[in-house]
């Protein structure tokens, strides 16, 4: 993450054959020392909206609007967010399928931001993509053999033992039969087609594979097969993945680190455990609390749930300051005016928020909640009694959710103990220590937060709610209009394509 660590990486072991699935937890910890494969800085992608006879640009859809991140060798970076947050565009820009509007992309230290098509071609070997739609991404008129061997032809690579043999080896690698060589895509099911897409992506032994929703079009059981396959291939071939997905459960399963995107920005970037156990950004928290848990017993135990109201604002005219302030329940004046920077508040956890959860408030002086904040979310507190109920009612004024966090909050005093218990499972003693520390810290901040929000509560009572509601409504209608514009723009774009 930090610069010093990066320079250390020169003598770090390149995890070619390493990283067995079981070691993933460790590898995530150790990934700080790994070589940076891809570095993205200030990346922007704006799609112009043109109108009139002169096709003058009147606005732009800011699909990706200034994001920074790194991908290290051998790790899996998960990217999540709602539809329209720019995650797919980001994937297409870092593979240079689309040209960025601004910012830089460095691959293995080389700036590839504005390489020409010809200069980019040799690099295409190292950066490959797996697409979402296994039906749309295979040419129906080509046989599987010609689809999977296309990369060899295009790159002029002659694999050892001939192209056909290599293709058949690849087919076997992804769990298909070599006899499928002469068949056509329509003869295969969705899961099998996705495997073909994976075989094609792996043909040239890429270093980086960007997978855009690789399993979302598949059935649950097939989804698990493909997830396992990608896992195995990573450990066998030392692949680095950027996996873009909207399914937070899948992302939790496959990723070492996760970036959460909202309206073209990364709002939180953290390793898997920190993100899911103690999300800092309110959006991350809301997103996670919305995921249905496949356990009916949790229905009652779930003490609170954050229900975000409404839809994502339009990326044409994103809200000022923090983009999430229109839907956030912690939003204050500063959120409206100042954009929060992406800061590393805890080792390995970056967040862009003025009032993060599970961390010290970044703008403690600013405690007056925006009027919209109160209405931004609806808290679902089930009537059933749960062990945390007393706690929950005490906290009712303070919006809390996502039960891992609630569990932590509820056990404020016991936090260190809990952290220790958690760490018991971990092999690493050092890890245990840091986690215990984290537990302490989070307990403290939790208490601090409770105070802050109590203040805010008092202040808020004064505010006249009704007037603001009206204002919010007007806002909403403007937004809706902007939205339909965006939809139009989108359509235009797709027809252009």
């Amino acid at each position: 993450m930090s610069e010093t660590k990066k320079t250390d990486a020169a003598d770090a072991v390149v995890p070619q054959q390493a990283v067995a699935p079981e070691d993933r937890a460790d590898s995530a910890k150790g990934s700080g020392d790994r070589e940076v494969l891809l570095r993205v800085q200030g990346l922007k992608k704006h799609f112009p909206i043109r109108k009139g006879v002169l096709q003058r640009q009147v606005a732009a859809v800011k699909a990706v609007d200034g994001i920074d991140f790194e991908v290290r060798k051998g790790e899996t970076l998960g990217v999540v967010g709602e539809s329209g947050c720019g995650k797919s565009t980001m994937g297409r820009v870092i593979t240079r399928l689309q040209d960025p509007t601004g910012g830089t992309i460095e691959f293995e230290g080389q700036d590839i931001t504005s390489l020409s098509v010809g200069k980019m071609r040799p690099l295409r070997r190292d950066i490959q993509m797996i697409f979402q739609d296994p039906y749309g991404s295979l040419n129906p008129r080509h046989t599987i053999g010609s689809i999977v061997s296309a990369p060899f032809r295009l790159q002029g690579v002659a694999p050892e033992g001939g192209v056909k043999k290599e293709v058949q080896r690849l087919l076997e690698l992804v769990g298909l039969s070599p006899e499928h060589y002469n068949r056509y895509p329509h003869e295969f099911s969705g899961g099998q087609r996705q495997r073909i897409g994976i075989a094609r992506a792996l043909a040239l032994k890429p270093k980086l594979v960007v997978a855009d929703e690789p399993v979302s079009a598949l059935d649950v059981s097939i989804q698990a097969q493909v997830v396992n396959l990608m896992d195995d291939l990573q450990s066998e071939l030392g692949l680095t993945y950027v996996i873009i997905a909207h399914d937070l459960s899948v992302v939790r399963h496959v990723s070492d680190r996760i970036a959460v995107m909202y309206l073209g920005k990364i709002v939180e970037l953290a390793d898997r455990t920190s993100l899911y156990e103690a999300p800092m950004h309110p959006y991350t928290k809301a997103l996670m609390s919305a995921v249905p848990v496949p356990d009916p017993k949790r229905r009652g135990a779930k003490s609170e749930r954050i229900l975000l109201k409404g839809d994502v604002p339009s990326p044409i005219a994103p809200p000022s300051g923090c983009r999430f302030h229109t839907r956030c329940w912690k939003a204050t004046e500063i959120c409206k005016t100042t954009e929060p920077p992406l800061l590393e508040l805890k080792p390995g956890q970056q967040v862009a928020c003025h009032h993060p959860e599970n961390a010290a408030d970044q703008a403690p002086q600013d405690t007056v909640l925006l009027s919209a904040a109160r209405e931004a979310v609806e808290l679902v507190i089930p009537a059933q009694s749960s062990p945390q109920e007393s706690e929950a009612s005490k906290e009712a004024s303070e919006p809390e959710a996502a039960e891992p966090v609630v569990a932590k909050a509820a056990a404020e005093e016991e936090a260190p103990a809990e952290a220790e218990a958690e760490a018991e499972g971990a092999d690493d003693a050092a890890e245990a220590e840091t986690e215990a520390e984290e537990g302490d810290a989070s307990a403290e901040t939790e208490a601090h937060e409770a105070e802050a929000s109590a203040d805010a509560e008092a202040a808020e009572v004064d505010a006249s709610v009704e007037a603001e509601t009206e204002a919010a409504e007007v806002d909403a209608s403007v937004e809706a209009e902007a939205k339909s514009d965006a939809a139009e723009a989108d359509r235009q774009e797709s027809t252009d394509k």
């Binding site: 699935p21 079981e22 937890a25 709602e82 539809s83 099911s189 899961g191 099998q192 059935d219 649950v220 059981s221 097939i222 989804q223 698990a224 097969q225 997830v227 396992n228 896992d231 909207h246 399914d247 937070l248 459960s249 899948v250 939790r252 399963h253 496959v254 898997r272 455990t273 899911y276 156990e277 809301a286 997103l287 996670m288 609390s289 919305a290 995921v291 249905p292 848990v293 496949p294 356990d295 009916p296 017993k297 949790r298 229905r299 749930r305 229900l307 975000l308 109201k309 409404g310 839809d311 679902v380 039960e403 891992p404 409504e473 909403a476 209608s477 809706a480 939205k483 339909s484 939809a487």
Partner: protein
């Protein structure tokens, strides 16, 4: 049809006297929906029985091609409409509030559709007419069943749009479907489905195309509306998370048949069928961290033209060789009672199932 009657003996457990009207609100008995095609007879639904009480939610779970959607369309009587009664073979009974639907006059069914039963589809954009405004489509749905003037109907439409949480309903009623976002469209569709206060609501993958945050909104909405109107809900989904969130009862379908059915707690705590285990093992969990591999069901879902003999799941079942002889390959298992209200169709003995679940599967989940 003659072919159907031959296999007609294979029926789920609760069917004892198929001709008398049931006491439950919706009861489906030995439903079969077959489509003759050039390649052979597609047995989309092949002997399915279940019932739903008012105020309860039944979730039908299964992979694509397991017959979930065909079942819901059969209940709505939409198969015959599309195929003009020629290209679909249906048998069995569907009782809705004391009225049998499979053999009923299509005009009678049409009167019920919308008023007694309504449906929410997966993709609201293609389920709505792009040429008419949201409001006018709801007005139409209301006036089909109520003799009221347009003004009253419009008032009712706006009231419904408001109820499902669409801001400025009076203004948005004049919008076209494409002007709505995915979540708003789904809300509008729910408003349209509920405008006549139907007593049965069928939701076919209502949230699959939506983001999790919107999904949570829609699920809550469906739950609230169900409480308010006391309707029976059939929710078709492949997401076990959604099932755990909203269902009272679960029906797991495989190859056009029910392989397991029971209360939601039973299904998640003591699942009895290897396919249900497979579904649970395939799901990555958001609520816990595991670096272990998922435990997928191997192989592909079966073709509904050549459904495997015996137990349809046997080619994919890791325990198919456990029962003695080749019973799994030759005999189709019937639903049997394995717990209170909990049925499963599996040849494994009760002891084997309990042992495999508690020792082999549950610890890995």
């Amino acid at each position: 049809m003659t072919e159907l009657s031959k296999t007609g003996a294979a029926v789920g457990e609760p069917v004892s006297a198929p001709s008398d009207a049931p006491s439950t609100f919706l009861e489906v008995r030995d439903l079969k929906v077959h489509f003759p095609t050039d390649d052979g007879l597609v047995k989309s639904v092949d002997g399915l029985s279940f019932s739903v009480e008012k105020g309860k939610t039944l979730s039908i779970v299964g992979e694509s091609g397991s017959g979930k959607s065909v079942t819901s369309l059969a209940i709505m009587g939409l198969h015959r409409l599309g195929a003009r009664g020629k290209n679909v073979q249906m048998s069995g009974e569907i009782w809705l509030d004391g009225q049998e639907l499979v053999n009923a006059d299509p005009d009678e069914v049409r009167k019920l559709r919308g008023r007694e039963m309504a449906m929410i589809f997966q993709d609201p954009l293609s389920a709505m007419h792009p040429y008419y405004t949201i409001g006018s489509q709801i007005v139409e749905a209301y006036r089909v069943h109520h003799k009221v003037d347009k003004k009253t109907a419009r008032k009712r439409a706006i009231e419904m749009l408001d109820r499902v949480g669409i801001p400025e309903p009076a203004k948005r009623a004049d919008s076209y479907p494409h002007e709505f976002s995915g979540g708003m469209r789904q809300r509008a569709m729910i408003a349209m489905a509920l405008v006549n206060n139907p007593e049965l609501l069928i939701a076919d993958e209502p949230t699959t195309a939506l983001d999790v945050t919107v999904q949570a909104q829609i699920l809550d909405l469906i739950r609230d509306l169900q409480k308010e109107f006391g309707s029976a809900v059939i929710l078709i989904t492949h997401d076990l998370g959604v099932v755990a969130e909203i269902a009272d009862e679960v029906l797991v379908m495989y190859g056009g048949r029910c392989v397991e059915r029971g209360a939601v707690d039973e299904i998640f705590e003591k699942p009895q069928h290897p396919y249900t285990w497979g579904l649970l093992g395939s799901m990555p969990r958001i609520d816990r961290e595991t670096s272990d591999r998922l435990i997928p069901v191997k192989g592909q879902p079966p073709s509904l033209i050549n459904v495997p003999s015996g137990c349809a799941f046997h080619p994919r079942c890791p325990y198919a060789d456990l029962p003695k002889g080749d019973v799994t390959r030759t005999v189709r298992p019937e639903l049997q009672l394995v717990g209170s209200g909990h049925y499963t169709a599996c040849h494994l003995s009760q002891e084997d199932r309990t042992r495999i679940w508690t020792e082999e599967i549950a610890p890995k989940l």
